[in-house]
Subunit: 301 residues, 2 copies
DNA sequence: ATCCCGGGTTGCGTAAAACGCGAAATAGTT
DNA sequence: AACTATTTCGCGTTTTACGCAACCCGGGAT
Protein backbone atom coordinates (compact mmCIF):
# COMPACT_ATOMS: atom_id res chain seq x y z
CA UNK A 1 0.00 0.00 0.00
CA UNK A 2 1.41 3.35 -0.84
CA UNK A 3 0.73 6.88 0.19
CA UNK A 4 -0.24 7.92 -3.29
CA UNK A 5 -3.17 5.53 -3.19
CA UNK A 6 -4.25 7.02 0.11
CA UNK A 7 -4.30 10.48 -1.38
CA UNK A 8 -6.33 9.29 -4.31
CA UNK A 9 -8.79 7.54 -2.07
CA UNK A 10 -9.18 10.52 0.19
CA UNK A 11 -9.88 12.73 -2.75
CA UNK A 12 -12.56 10.44 -4.08
CA UNK A 13 -13.99 9.94 -0.61
CA UNK A 14 -14.37 13.68 -0.44
CA UNK A 15 -15.69 14.53 -3.87
CA UNK A 16 -17.58 11.27 -4.25
CA UNK A 17 -16.88 11.69 -7.92
CA UNK A 18 -14.12 9.91 -9.81
CA UNK A 19 -13.96 12.36 -12.66
CA UNK A 20 -13.65 15.39 -10.46
CA UNK A 21 -10.96 13.75 -8.37
CA UNK A 22 -9.07 12.74 -11.47
CA UNK A 23 -8.97 16.34 -12.58
CA UNK A 24 -7.96 17.54 -9.18
CA UNK A 25 -5.20 14.93 -8.96
CA UNK A 26 -3.94 15.48 -12.50
CA UNK A 27 -4.51 11.94 -13.58
CA UNK A 28 -6.88 10.05 -15.84
CA UNK A 29 -10.21 8.79 -14.60
CA UNK A 30 -9.22 5.23 -15.26
CA UNK A 31 -6.12 5.57 -13.13
CA UNK A 32 -8.23 6.81 -10.26
CA UNK A 33 -10.71 4.02 -10.72
CA UNK A 34 -8.02 1.41 -10.74
CA UNK A 35 -6.16 2.85 -7.79
CA UNK A 36 -9.28 2.59 -5.69
CA UNK A 37 -9.93 -0.83 -7.15
CA UNK A 38 -6.49 -2.00 -6.10
CA UNK A 39 -7.07 -0.81 -2.57
CA UNK A 40 -10.36 -2.63 -2.38
CA UNK A 41 -8.66 -5.68 -3.71
CA UNK A 42 -5.94 -5.60 -1.12
CA UNK A 43 -8.38 -5.03 1.68
CA UNK A 44 -10.86 -7.57 0.45
CA UNK A 45 -13.76 -5.19 0.80
CA UNK A 46 -15.46 -2.52 -1.26
CA UNK A 47 -14.67 0.94 0.05
CA UNK A 48 -16.98 2.85 -2.22
CA UNK A 49 -20.40 1.88 -3.36
CA UNK A 50 -20.89 2.90 -7.00
CA UNK A 51 -24.26 2.54 -8.53
CA UNK A 52 -23.90 4.43 -11.80
CA UNK A 53 -25.45 7.46 -10.35
CA UNK A 54 -23.82 8.27 -7.10
CA UNK A 55 -20.82 7.15 -5.16
CA UNK A 56 -21.05 6.52 -1.46
CA UNK A 57 -18.68 5.36 1.22
CA UNK A 58 -19.21 1.91 2.62
CA UNK A 59 -18.67 1.16 6.27
CA UNK A 60 -15.19 -0.13 5.55
CA UNK A 61 -14.67 2.95 3.42
CA UNK A 62 -15.40 5.25 6.32
CA UNK A 63 -13.07 3.33 8.54
CA UNK A 64 -10.39 3.34 5.92
CA UNK A 65 -10.83 7.06 5.41
CA UNK A 66 -9.96 7.64 9.04
CA UNK A 67 -6.94 5.44 8.68
CA UNK A 68 -5.85 7.18 5.51
CA UNK A 69 -6.14 10.65 6.96
CA UNK A 70 -4.27 9.65 10.00
CA UNK A 71 -1.49 7.82 8.18
CA UNK A 72 -1.04 10.55 5.64
CA UNK A 73 -0.86 13.19 8.32
CA UNK A 74 1.85 11.26 10.08
CA UNK A 75 3.78 10.87 6.88
CA UNK A 76 3.66 14.58 6.21
CA UNK A 77 4.64 15.21 9.76
CA UNK A 78 7.65 12.96 9.48
CA UNK A 79 8.75 14.67 6.31
CA UNK A 80 8.41 18.06 7.87
CA UNK A 81 10.33 16.94 10.87
CA UNK A 82 13.17 15.48 8.85
CA UNK A 83 13.06 18.39 6.44
CA UNK A 84 13.23 21.14 8.98
CA UNK A 85 15.79 19.32 11.02
CA UNK A 86 18.25 21.02 8.75
CA UNK A 87 20.57 18.31 7.67
CA UNK A 88 18.70 17.54 4.53
CA UNK A 89 21.15 16.08 2.06
CA UNK A 90 21.11 15.03 -1.53
CA UNK A 91 21.38 17.08 -4.65
CA UNK A 92 19.18 19.13 -6.88
CA UNK A 93 20.07 19.66 -10.48
CA UNK A 94 18.86 22.93 -12.01
CA UNK A 95 18.60 24.14 -15.56
CA UNK A 96 17.88 27.68 -16.64
CA UNK A 97 18.98 30.48 -18.88
CA UNK A 98 21.80 32.79 -17.91
CA UNK A 99 19.35 35.56 -17.27
CA UNK A 100 17.18 33.42 -15.08
CA UNK A 101 20.14 32.41 -13.01
CA UNK A 102 20.68 36.06 -12.14
CA UNK A 103 17.19 37.29 -11.87
CA UNK A 104 14.90 34.44 -10.92
CA UNK A 105 17.20 32.01 -9.24
CA UNK A 106 19.55 34.24 -7.28
CA UNK A 107 17.18 35.27 -4.47
CA UNK A 108 15.82 31.78 -4.32
CA UNK A 109 19.16 30.08 -4.08
CA UNK A 110 20.28 32.50 -1.43
CA UNK A 111 17.45 31.45 0.85
CA UNK A 112 17.80 27.81 -0.04
CA UNK A 113 21.52 27.62 0.66
CA UNK A 114 21.03 29.08 4.08
CA UNK A 115 18.20 26.82 4.96
CA UNK A 116 19.61 23.61 3.50
CA UNK A 117 23.37 23.92 3.38
CA UNK A 118 23.88 20.20 2.91
CA UNK A 119 21.94 19.93 -0.32
CA UNK A 120 24.18 20.21 -3.35
CA UNK A 121 23.02 22.41 -6.17
CA UNK A 122 24.13 21.67 -9.69
CA UNK A 123 23.35 24.52 -12.01
CA UNK A 124 23.31 24.19 -15.78
CA UNK A 125 22.59 27.09 -18.05
CA UNK A 126 21.54 27.20 -21.66
CA UNK A 127 18.69 28.12 -23.89
CA UNK A 128 15.59 28.48 -21.84
CA UNK A 129 13.67 26.75 -24.62
CA UNK A 130 15.38 23.45 -23.77
CA UNK A 131 14.23 23.47 -20.18
CA UNK A 132 11.15 21.32 -20.55
CA UNK A 133 13.00 18.78 -22.65
CA UNK A 134 15.74 18.46 -20.12
CA UNK A 135 13.13 17.81 -17.47
CA UNK A 136 11.36 15.22 -19.57
CA UNK A 137 14.64 13.45 -20.27
CA UNK A 138 15.48 13.58 -16.58
CA UNK A 139 18.71 15.38 -17.31
CA UNK A 140 17.88 17.87 -14.59
CA UNK A 141 15.51 17.93 -11.68
CA UNK A 142 14.17 21.44 -12.03
CA UNK A 143 14.16 24.00 -14.81
CA UNK A 144 13.20 27.63 -14.96
CA UNK A 145 11.04 28.00 -18.00
CA UNK A 146 8.16 29.87 -19.49
CA UNK A 147 4.93 28.00 -19.13
CA UNK A 148 4.25 26.17 -22.37
CA UNK A 149 0.78 26.52 -23.79
CA UNK A 150 0.19 22.92 -22.98
CA UNK A 151 2.12 21.32 -20.23
CA UNK A 152 2.93 17.61 -20.58
CA UNK A 153 0.82 15.90 -17.96
CA UNK A 154 3.71 14.48 -16.01
CA UNK A 155 5.49 17.75 -15.36
CA UNK A 156 4.50 20.03 -12.54
CA UNK A 157 4.73 23.81 -12.98
CA UNK A 158 5.06 26.42 -10.26
CA UNK A 159 4.50 29.94 -11.61
CA UNK A 160 6.85 32.49 -10.07
CA UNK A 161 6.46 35.68 -12.00
CA UNK A 162 5.30 37.12 -15.27
CA UNK A 163 7.26 39.21 -17.70
CA UNK A 164 5.78 40.99 -20.70
CA UNK A 165 6.97 39.67 -23.99
CA UNK A 166 7.91 42.56 -26.25
CA UNK A 167 9.53 43.49 -29.49
CA UNK A 168 12.80 45.35 -29.20
CA UNK A 169 14.61 47.68 -31.55
CA UNK A 170 18.11 49.18 -31.43
CA UNK A 171 18.47 52.63 -29.89
CA UNK A 172 21.53 53.49 -31.90
CA UNK A 173 20.95 55.36 -35.11
CA UNK A 174 20.47 52.91 -37.93
CA UNK A 175 18.08 51.86 -40.67
CA UNK A 176 16.17 49.49 -38.45
CA UNK A 177 15.53 52.16 -35.90
CA UNK A 178 14.13 54.46 -38.55
CA UNK A 179 11.80 51.78 -39.81
CA UNK A 180 10.01 51.20 -36.52
CA UNK A 181 10.74 54.11 -34.25
CA UNK A 182 7.43 55.81 -34.72
CA UNK A 183 5.28 52.68 -35.10
CA UNK A 184 2.35 52.46 -32.70
CA UNK A 185 0.57 49.51 -34.27
CA UNK A 186 1.39 46.47 -36.35
CA UNK A 187 -0.14 48.21 -39.33
CA UNK A 188 2.51 50.95 -39.19
CA UNK A 189 5.28 48.51 -39.91
CA UNK A 190 6.50 47.25 -43.25
CA UNK A 191 7.08 43.71 -42.08
CA UNK A 192 8.22 42.49 -45.45
CA UNK A 193 11.31 44.66 -45.21
CA UNK A 194 11.99 44.60 -41.50
CA UNK A 195 14.70 42.14 -40.45
CA UNK A 196 13.24 40.16 -37.59
CA UNK A 197 15.21 38.10 -35.09
CA UNK A 198 13.21 35.32 -33.53
CA UNK A 199 13.78 32.36 -31.25
CA UNK A 200 14.42 29.02 -32.88
CA UNK A 201 11.91 27.21 -30.73
CA UNK A 202 10.35 27.19 -27.34
CA UNK A 203 7.55 28.97 -25.59
CA UNK A 204 8.59 32.41 -26.79
CA UNK A 205 8.55 31.27 -30.38
CA UNK A 206 5.08 29.78 -29.93
CA UNK A 207 3.71 32.93 -28.38
CA UNK A 208 5.24 35.04 -31.12
CA UNK A 209 3.95 32.78 -33.85
CA UNK A 210 0.41 32.90 -32.60
CA UNK A 211 0.61 36.66 -32.13
CA UNK A 212 1.81 37.12 -35.68
CA UNK A 213 -0.85 34.82 -37.00
CA UNK A 214 -3.49 36.70 -35.07
CA UNK A 215 -2.50 40.05 -36.58
CA UNK A 216 -1.74 38.80 -40.03
CA UNK A 217 1.93 39.59 -39.82
CA UNK A 218 4.06 37.85 -42.46
CA UNK A 219 7.53 38.69 -41.32
CA UNK A 220 10.89 38.56 -42.97
CA UNK A 221 12.99 36.41 -40.70
CA UNK A 222 16.52 37.69 -40.48
CA UNK A 223 17.77 35.16 -38.01
CA UNK A 224 16.55 32.35 -35.79
CA UNK A 225 18.53 32.31 -32.61
CA UNK A 226 18.75 30.07 -29.59
CA UNK A 227 18.49 32.01 -26.37
CA UNK A 228 16.87 35.29 -25.53
CA UNK A 229 20.14 36.86 -24.54
CA UNK A 230 21.54 36.32 -28.01
CA UNK A 231 18.47 37.86 -29.57
CA UNK A 232 18.80 40.96 -27.45
CA UNK A 233 22.48 41.18 -28.28
CA UNK A 234 21.78 41.04 -31.99
CA UNK A 235 19.12 43.69 -31.68
CA UNK A 236 21.54 45.84 -29.73
CA UNK A 237 24.00 45.59 -32.60
CA UNK A 238 21.38 46.99 -34.92
CA UNK A 239 20.80 43.84 -36.91
CA UNK A 240 17.04 43.96 -36.62
CA UNK A 241 14.04 43.84 -34.37
CA UNK A 242 13.72 40.94 -31.98
CA UNK A 243 11.41 39.43 -29.43
CA UNK A 244 12.30 38.81 -25.82
CA UNK A 245 10.81 39.00 -22.37
CA UNK A 246 11.30 42.34 -20.67
CA UNK A 247 13.06 40.61 -17.82
CA UNK A 248 15.89 39.50 -20.07
CA UNK A 249 16.49 43.03 -21.35
CA UNK A 250 16.42 44.52 -17.90
CA UNK A 251 18.73 41.95 -16.43
CA UNK A 252 21.23 41.99 -19.26
CA UNK A 253 23.72 44.71 -20.03
CA UNK A 254 21.86 45.86 -23.09
CA UNK A 255 19.08 47.91 -21.64
CA UNK A 256 20.42 51.16 -23.05
CA UNK A 257 21.12 49.75 -26.48
CA UNK A 258 17.60 48.50 -27.10
CA UNK A 259 14.12 49.89 -26.60
CA UNK A 260 10.72 48.33 -26.68
CA UNK A 261 8.36 48.88 -29.54
CA UNK A 262 5.28 50.42 -28.09
CA UNK A 263 2.53 48.73 -30.08
CA UNK A 264 -1.15 48.65 -29.34
CA UNK A 265 -1.26 44.95 -29.94
CA UNK A 266 0.60 43.51 -26.99
CA UNK A 267 1.92 39.97 -26.93
CA UNK A 268 0.75 37.60 -24.25
CA UNK A 269 3.02 37.91 -21.26
CA UNK A 270 5.34 35.04 -20.45
CA UNK A 271 4.59 33.16 -17.27
CA UNK A 272 7.91 32.12 -15.83
CA UNK A 273 8.20 29.39 -13.28
CA UNK A 274 9.74 26.15 -12.11
CA UNK A 275 9.07 22.81 -13.76
CA UNK A 276 9.94 19.34 -12.70
CA UNK A 277 8.70 15.82 -13.20
CA UNK A 278 5.69 15.49 -10.96
CA UNK A 279 6.81 12.21 -9.51
CA UNK A 280 10.13 13.66 -8.45
CA UNK A 281 8.35 15.92 -6.03
CA UNK A 282 8.24 12.98 -3.69
CA UNK A 283 11.92 13.63 -3.09
CA UNK A 284 12.32 15.72 -0.01
CA UNK A 285 15.24 17.90 -1.17
CA UNK A 286 13.38 18.72 -4.32
CA UNK A 287 10.22 19.47 -2.47
CA UNK A 288 12.15 21.72 -0.13
CA UNK A 289 13.45 23.64 -3.10
CA UNK A 290 9.97 23.87 -4.52
CA UNK A 291 8.62 25.20 -1.25
CA UNK A 292 11.34 27.78 -0.89
CA UNK A 293 10.59 28.97 -4.39
CA UNK A 294 6.92 29.27 -3.61
CA UNK A 295 7.62 31.23 -0.47
CA UNK A 296 10.21 33.48 -2.06
CA UNK A 297 7.79 34.47 -4.76
CA UNK A 298 4.81 34.89 -2.52
CA UNK A 299 3.24 31.49 -2.94
CA UNK A 300 0.41 32.51 -5.24
CA UNK A 301 1.00 34.27 -8.55
CA UNK B 1 6.21 5.54 0.09
CA UNK B 2 4.93 2.06 0.43
CA UNK B 3 4.62 -0.43 3.21
CA UNK B 4 6.89 -2.90 1.49
CA UNK B 5 9.74 -0.44 1.73
CA UNK B 6 9.08 -0.02 5.43
CA UNK B 7 9.34 -3.76 5.97
CA UNK B 8 12.58 -3.89 4.08
CA UNK B 9 14.02 -1.00 6.01
CA UNK B 10 12.98 -2.45 9.33
CA UNK B 11 14.60 -5.72 8.48
CA UNK B 12 17.88 -4.07 7.56
CA UNK B 13 17.70 -1.81 10.58
CA UNK B 14 17.47 -4.92 12.66
CA UNK B 15 20.04 -7.16 11.06
CA UNK B 16 22.33 -4.31 10.03
CA UNK B 17 23.25 -6.55 7.16
CA UNK B 18 21.83 -6.21 3.67
CA UNK B 19 22.58 -9.76 2.60
CA UNK B 20 20.96 -11.33 5.58
CA UNK B 21 17.88 -9.19 5.19
CA UNK B 22 17.67 -10.02 1.52
CA UNK B 23 17.59 -13.68 2.35
CA UNK B 24 15.06 -13.20 5.07
CA UNK B 25 12.85 -11.13 2.78
CA UNK B 26 13.18 -13.46 -0.19
CA UNK B 27 14.64 -10.84 -2.45
CA UNK B 28 17.98 -10.06 -4.01
CA UNK B 29 20.58 -7.95 -2.26
CA UNK B 30 20.38 -5.34 -4.95
CA UNK B 31 16.65 -4.97 -4.51
CA UNK B 32 17.15 -4.37 -0.81
CA UNK B 33 19.91 -1.90 -1.46
CA UNK B 34 17.80 0.02 -3.92
CA UNK B 35 14.72 0.00 -1.76
CA UNK B 36 16.63 1.58 1.08
CA UNK B 37 18.26 3.93 -1.42
CA UNK B 38 14.89 5.07 -2.66
CA UNK B 39 13.75 5.81 0.86
CA UNK B 40 16.85 7.83 1.57
CA UNK B 41 16.31 9.66 -1.65
CA UNK B 42 12.76 10.53 -0.84
CA UNK B 43 13.63 11.63 2.65
CA UNK B 44 16.74 13.49 1.63
CA UNK B 45 18.82 11.93 4.32
CA UNK B 46 20.88 8.82 4.77
CA UNK B 47 19.15 6.36 7.07
CA UNK B 48 21.97 3.88 7.27
CA UNK B 49 25.65 4.56 7.44
CA UNK B 50 27.55 2.02 5.38
CA UNK B 51 31.28 1.93 5.49
CA UNK B 52 32.10 -1.34 3.74
CA UNK B 53 32.46 -3.13 6.97
CA UNK B 54 29.51 -2.40 9.13
CA UNK B 55 26.12 -0.83 8.80
CA UNK B 56 24.79 1.53 11.41
CA UNK B 57 21.66 3.56 11.83
CA UNK B 58 21.97 7.31 11.48
CA UNK B 59 19.96 9.67 13.61
CA UNK B 60 17.36 10.06 10.93
CA UNK B 61 17.44 6.29 10.57
CA UNK B 62 16.51 5.79 14.18
CA UNK B 63 13.72 8.28 13.93
CA UNK B 64 12.48 6.68 10.77
CA UNK B 65 12.61 3.27 12.35
CA UNK B 66 10.18 4.42 14.98
CA UNK B 67 7.92 5.81 12.34
CA UNK B 68 8.14 2.64 10.28
CA UNK B 69 7.31 0.36 13.19
CA UNK B 70 4.43 2.48 14.19
CA UNK B 71 3.00 2.85 10.70
CA UNK B 72 3.38 -0.79 9.89
CA UNK B 73 1.71 -1.81 13.11
CA UNK B 74 -1.24 0.40 12.32
CA UNK B 75 -1.49 -1.04 8.84
CA UNK B 76 -1.54 -4.57 10.18
CA UNK B 77 -4.06 -3.54 12.74
CA UNK B 78 -6.34 -2.06 10.11
CA UNK B 79 -6.11 -5.19 8.03
CA UNK B 80 -6.93 -7.37 10.96
CA UNK B 81 -9.83 -5.18 11.88
CA UNK B 82 -11.25 -5.19 8.38
CA UNK B 83 -10.43 -8.86 7.96
CA UNK B 84 -12.00 -10.09 11.14
CA UNK B 85 -14.95 -7.82 10.69
CA UNK B 86 -16.27 -10.76 8.75
CA UNK B 87 -17.42 -9.56 5.43
CA UNK B 88 -14.20 -10.14 3.63
CA UNK B 89 -15.04 -10.48 -0.02
CA UNK B 90 -13.16 -11.38 -3.16
CA UNK B 91 -12.08 -14.68 -4.56
CA UNK B 92 -9.26 -17.11 -4.18
CA UNK B 93 -8.33 -19.46 -6.96
CA UNK B 94 -6.80 -22.78 -5.91
CA UNK B 95 -4.95 -25.46 -7.78
CA UNK B 96 -4.10 -28.89 -6.46
CA UNK B 97 -4.18 -32.56 -7.20
CA UNK B 98 -7.28 -34.62 -6.61
CA UNK B 99 -5.68 -36.25 -3.63
CA UNK B 100 -4.68 -32.96 -2.10
CA UNK B 101 -8.20 -31.65 -2.44
CA UNK B 102 -9.37 -34.49 -0.21
CA UNK B 103 -6.56 -34.76 2.19
CA UNK B 104 -4.81 -31.43 2.50
CA UNK B 105 -7.42 -28.96 1.45
CA UNK B 106 -10.59 -30.38 2.93
CA UNK B 107 -9.98 -29.48 6.59
CA UNK B 108 -8.57 -26.15 5.57
CA UNK B 109 -11.48 -25.20 3.37
CA UNK B 110 -13.93 -26.20 6.02
CA UNK B 111 -12.49 -23.69 8.45
CA UNK B 112 -12.07 -21.05 5.80
CA UNK B 113 -15.63 -21.24 4.53
CA UNK B 114 -16.98 -20.78 8.00
CA UNK B 115 -14.76 -17.88 8.81
CA UNK B 116 -15.01 -16.05 5.49
CA UNK B 117 -18.25 -17.07 3.86
CA UNK B 118 -18.17 -14.17 1.42
CA UNK B 119 -14.91 -15.16 -0.22
CA UNK B 120 -15.43 -17.25 -3.31
CA UNK B 121 -13.24 -20.28 -3.76
CA UNK B 122 -12.42 -21.53 -7.22
CA UNK B 123 -10.85 -24.95 -7.15
CA UNK B 124 -8.98 -26.47 -10.06
CA UNK B 125 -7.48 -29.91 -9.95
CA UNK B 126 -4.81 -31.52 -12.07
CA UNK B 127 -1.31 -32.87 -11.95
CA UNK B 128 0.37 -31.64 -8.84
CA UNK B 129 3.52 -31.10 -10.87
CA UNK B 130 1.89 -28.19 -12.69
CA UNK B 131 1.15 -26.27 -9.51
CA UNK B 132 4.19 -24.04 -9.49
CA UNK B 133 3.79 -23.19 -13.15
CA UNK B 134 0.20 -22.22 -12.68
CA UNK B 135 1.26 -19.94 -9.88
CA UNK B 136 4.03 -18.37 -11.92
CA UNK B 137 1.64 -17.80 -14.81
CA UNK B 138 -0.87 -16.32 -12.41
CA UNK B 139 -3.48 -18.80 -13.52
CA UNK B 140 -4.29 -19.48 -9.90
CA UNK B 141 -3.64 -17.72 -6.64
CA UNK B 142 -2.59 -20.67 -4.54
CA UNK B 143 -1.44 -24.17 -5.30
CA UNK B 144 -0.81 -27.18 -3.14
CA UNK B 145 2.52 -28.56 -4.19
CA UNK B 146 5.60 -30.33 -3.05
CA UNK B 147 8.39 -27.97 -2.24
CA UNK B 148 10.70 -27.81 -5.23
CA UNK B 149 14.39 -28.13 -4.52
CA UNK B 150 14.79 -24.55 -5.50
CA UNK B 151 11.90 -22.25 -5.13
CA UNK B 152 11.61 -19.41 -7.66
CA UNK B 153 12.35 -16.31 -5.65
CA UNK B 154 9.01 -14.66 -6.24
CA UNK B 155 6.89 -17.49 -4.88
CA UNK B 156 6.21 -17.92 -1.21
CA UNK B 157 5.91 -21.41 0.26
CA UNK B 158 4.08 -22.41 3.41
CA UNK B 159 4.95 -25.96 4.46
CA UNK B 160 1.95 -27.85 5.80
CA UNK B 161 2.98 -31.45 6.16
CA UNK B 162 5.47 -34.03 5.03
CA UNK B 163 4.80 -37.32 3.41
CA UNK B 164 7.43 -40.00 2.77
CA UNK B 165 8.09 -40.65 -0.87
CA UNK B 166 8.15 -44.37 -1.49
CA UNK B 167 8.26 -47.01 -4.15
CA UNK B 168 5.14 -49.09 -4.47
CA UNK B 169 4.53 -52.55 -5.85
CA UNK B 170 1.33 -54.42 -6.60
CA UNK B 171 0.02 -56.75 -3.91
CA UNK B 172 -1.74 -59.02 -6.39
CA UNK B 173 0.20 -62.02 -7.54
CA UNK B 174 2.17 -61.15 -10.61
CA UNK B 175 5.65 -61.09 -12.06
CA UNK B 176 6.42 -57.63 -10.76
CA UNK B 177 5.57 -58.63 -7.23
CA UNK B 178 7.92 -61.60 -7.38
CA UNK B 179 10.73 -59.42 -8.61
CA UNK B 180 10.73 -57.02 -5.66
CA UNK B 181 8.79 -58.59 -2.85
CA UNK B 182 11.76 -59.63 -0.84
CA UNK B 183 14.07 -56.76 -1.72
CA UNK B 184 15.48 -54.88 1.24
CA UNK B 185 17.99 -52.74 -0.58
CA UNK B 186 18.50 -51.27 -4.04
CA UNK B 187 21.14 -53.85 -4.66
CA UNK B 188 18.59 -56.66 -4.38
CA UNK B 189 16.70 -55.42 -7.38
CA UNK B 190 17.34 -56.14 -11.03
CA UNK B 191 16.53 -52.63 -12.21
CA UNK B 192 17.23 -53.36 -15.82
CA UNK B 193 14.29 -55.72 -15.95
CA UNK B 194 11.90 -54.05 -13.58
CA UNK B 195 9.19 -51.98 -15.23
CA UNK B 196 9.21 -48.62 -13.48
CA UNK B 197 6.44 -46.08 -13.57
CA UNK B 198 7.62 -42.55 -12.91
CA UNK B 199 6.24 -39.04 -12.99
CA UNK B 200 6.70 -37.07 -16.17
CA UNK B 201 7.98 -34.02 -14.34
CA UNK B 202 7.69 -32.12 -11.14
CA UNK B 203 9.17 -32.32 -7.69
CA UNK B 204 8.58 -36.03 -7.31
CA UNK B 205 10.45 -36.74 -10.51
CA UNK B 206 13.35 -34.58 -9.35
CA UNK B 207 13.57 -36.32 -6.02
CA UNK B 208 13.40 -39.70 -7.68
CA UNK B 209 16.04 -38.79 -10.23
CA UNK B 210 18.50 -37.63 -7.65
CA UNK B 211 17.83 -40.68 -5.50
CA UNK B 212 18.47 -42.98 -8.44
CA UNK B 213 21.61 -41.10 -9.36
CA UNK B 214 22.82 -41.33 -5.78
CA UNK B 215 22.44 -45.09 -5.67
CA UNK B 216 23.54 -45.78 -9.18
CA UNK B 217 20.19 -47.07 -10.31
CA UNK B 218 19.76 -47.17 -14.10
CA UNK B 219 16.10 -48.05 -14.39
CA UNK B 220 14.00 -49.34 -17.19
CA UNK B 221 11.20 -46.82 -17.53
CA UNK B 222 7.95 -48.50 -18.33
CA UNK B 223 5.82 -45.40 -18.35
CA UNK B 224 6.01 -41.72 -17.59
CA UNK B 225 2.76 -40.56 -16.17
CA UNK B 226 1.27 -37.23 -15.16
CA UNK B 227 -0.22 -37.33 -11.70
CA UNK B 228 0.53 -39.45 -8.69
CA UNK B 229 -2.93 -40.95 -8.66
CA UNK B 230 -2.41 -42.41 -12.12
CA UNK B 231 0.92 -43.88 -11.11
CA UNK B 232 -0.64 -45.61 -8.13
CA UNK B 233 -3.46 -46.89 -10.29
CA UNK B 234 -1.03 -48.39 -12.78
CA UNK B 235 0.95 -50.02 -10.03
CA UNK B 236 -2.27 -51.41 -8.60
CA UNK B 237 -2.98 -53.01 -11.96
CA UNK B 238 0.31 -54.81 -11.77
CA UNK B 239 2.03 -52.93 -14.54
CA UNK B 240 5.13 -52.21 -12.57
CA UNK B 241 6.69 -50.45 -9.60
CA UNK B 242 5.98 -46.77 -9.16
CA UNK B 243 6.89 -43.85 -6.99
CA UNK B 244 4.39 -41.79 -5.05
CA UNK B 245 4.01 -40.05 -1.72
CA UNK B 246 2.51 -42.18 0.96
CA UNK B 247 -0.29 -39.69 1.38
CA UNK B 248 -1.57 -40.33 -2.12
CA UNK B 249 -1.73 -44.06 -1.56
CA UNK B 250 -3.47 -43.71 1.77
CA UNK B 251 -5.99 -41.23 0.50
CA UNK B 252 -6.81 -43.06 -2.70
CA UNK B 253 -8.81 -46.25 -3.00
CA UNK B 254 -5.78 -48.35 -3.85
CA UNK B 255 -4.22 -48.90 -0.48
CA UNK B 256 -4.93 -52.64 -0.48
CA UNK B 257 -3.78 -53.17 -4.04
CA UNK B 258 -0.31 -51.73 -3.53
CA UNK B 259 2.38 -52.06 -0.88
CA UNK B 260 5.50 -50.08 -0.17
CA UNK B 261 8.93 -51.45 -0.92
CA UNK B 262 10.81 -51.51 2.31
CA UNK B 263 14.29 -50.48 1.23
CA UNK B 264 17.15 -49.35 3.40
CA UNK B 265 17.76 -46.42 1.13
CA UNK B 266 14.81 -44.16 1.75
CA UNK B 267 13.91 -41.36 -0.58
CA UNK B 268 13.77 -37.81 0.73
CA UNK B 269 10.33 -37.10 2.05
CA UNK B 270 8.13 -34.69 0.16
CA UNK B 271 7.38 -31.43 1.88
CA UNK B 272 3.86 -30.49 0.91
CA UNK B 273 2.57 -26.97 1.27
CA UNK B 274 0.93 -23.94 -0.21
CA UNK B 275 2.59 -21.73 -2.80
CA UNK B 276 1.60 -18.40 -4.17
CA UNK B 277 3.22 -15.39 -5.74
CA UNK B 278 4.78 -13.51 -2.87
CA UNK B 279 3.37 -10.19 -3.96
CA UNK B 280 -0.16 -11.55 -3.99
CA UNK B 281 0.03 -12.01 -0.26
CA UNK B 282 -0.76 -8.33 0.01
CA UNK B 283 -4.30 -9.26 -0.91
CA UNK B 284 -6.32 -9.65 2.23
CA UNK B 285 -8.48 -12.62 1.17
CA UNK B 286 -5.40 -14.50 0.12
CA UNK B 287 -3.61 -13.68 3.30
CA UNK B 288 -6.61 -14.86 5.27
CA UNK B 289 -6.46 -18.15 3.45
CA UNK B 290 -2.76 -18.38 4.11
CA UNK B 291 -3.28 -17.72 7.79
CA UNK B 292 -6.03 -20.28 8.10
CA UNK B 293 -3.77 -22.83 6.47
CA UNK B 294 -0.97 -22.04 8.88
CA UNK B 295 -3.27 -22.36 11.86
CA UNK B 296 -4.93 -25.52 10.63
CA UNK B 297 -1.59 -27.21 10.25
CA UNK B 298 -0.13 -25.95 13.46
CA UNK B 299 1.75 -22.96 12.15
CA UNK B 300 5.24 -24.41 12.23
CA UNK B 301 6.20 -27.62 10.46
C1' DA C 1 52.44 -8.24 -1.93
C1' DT C 2 48.76 -10.83 -3.83
C1' DC C 3 44.90 -13.21 -3.77
C1' DC C 4 40.43 -14.28 -2.14
C1' DC C 5 36.20 -13.22 0.71
C1' DG C 6 32.43 -10.92 2.65
C1' DG C 7 29.37 -7.33 1.65
C1' DG C 8 27.24 -3.27 -0.72
C1' DT C 9 26.51 -0.75 -5.15
C1' DT C 10 25.69 -0.20 -10.15
C1' DG C 11 24.66 -1.11 -15.27
C1' DC C 12 21.81 -3.60 -18.06
C1' DG C 13 18.16 -6.43 -19.90
C1' DT C 14 13.69 -8.11 -18.75
C1' DA C 15 9.25 -8.67 -16.31
C1' DA C 16 5.59 -6.47 -13.95
C1' DA C 17 2.84 -2.47 -12.75
C1' DA C 18 0.64 1.72 -13.82
C1' DC C 19 -1.17 4.74 -17.02
C1' DG C 20 -3.80 7.00 -20.76
C1' DC C 21 -6.88 6.44 -24.47
C1' DG C 22 -10.90 5.13 -26.30
C1' DA C 23 -14.89 1.85 -26.28
C1' DA C 24 -18.65 0.06 -23.74
C1' DA C 25 -22.27 0.29 -20.44
C1' DT C 26 -25.87 2.75 -18.09
C1' DA C 27 -28.62 6.38 -15.92
C1' DG C 28 -30.41 10.85 -16.15
C1' DT C 29 -31.66 14.96 -19.38
C1' DT C 30 -33.08 17.67 -23.19
C1' DA D 1 -34.25 9.40 -29.34
C1' DA D 2 -30.25 11.72 -29.08
C1' DC D 3 -27.17 13.58 -25.71
C1' DT D 4 -24.56 14.04 -21.49
C1' DA D 5 -22.29 12.48 -17.43
C1' DT D 6 -19.94 8.85 -15.20
C1' DT D 7 -17.42 4.48 -14.22
C1' DT D 8 -15.20 0.36 -15.86
C1' DC D 9 -12.54 -2.45 -19.10
C1' DG D 10 -9.36 -3.86 -22.99
C1' DC D 11 -5.26 -2.65 -25.19
C1' DG D 12 -0.89 -0.62 -26.32
C1' DT D 13 2.71 2.19 -24.22
C1' DT D 14 5.53 4.02 -20.61
C1' DT D 15 7.60 3.64 -16.12
C1' DT D 16 9.21 1.11 -12.37
C1' DA D 17 11.25 -2.76 -9.99
C1' DC D 18 13.90 -6.78 -10.03
C1' DG D 19 17.59 -10.21 -10.66
C1' DC D 20 21.96 -11.11 -12.55
C1' DA D 21 26.52 -10.26 -12.84
C1' DA D 22 30.24 -7.23 -12.79
C1' DC D 23 32.51 -4.19 -9.81
C1' DC D 24 34.39 -1.87 -5.86
C1' DC D 25 36.47 -1.90 -1.49
C1' DG D 26 38.30 -3.15 3.07
C1' DG D 27 40.35 -7.29 5.71
C1' DG D 28 42.52 -11.41 6.48
C1' DA D 29 45.20 -15.55 4.83
C1' DT D 30 48.75 -17.45 1.88
Amino acid sequence: METRALQVFLSVAETLNFSRSAEQLHMSVSAVSRTVGRLEDQLGQPLLERDRRRVRLTGAGREFREYARHTLAEWQQLRRRLGSEGELSGEVSLYCSVTASYSVLAPLLETFRIRYPAVEIMLHTGDQADGIDRILNAQDDVAVSGRPSQLPSRVAFLPLLESPLRLWRPTAECAVREQVQSARSVADIDWANLPLIVPERGVTKDLLDSWMALHGVRPKIYAQVAGHEAIVAMVGLGLGVGVAPQLVVEAGGMSDRVAALDLQEALDPLSIGLCCLARRLSSLPLQAFWDVAGQTYGEAV
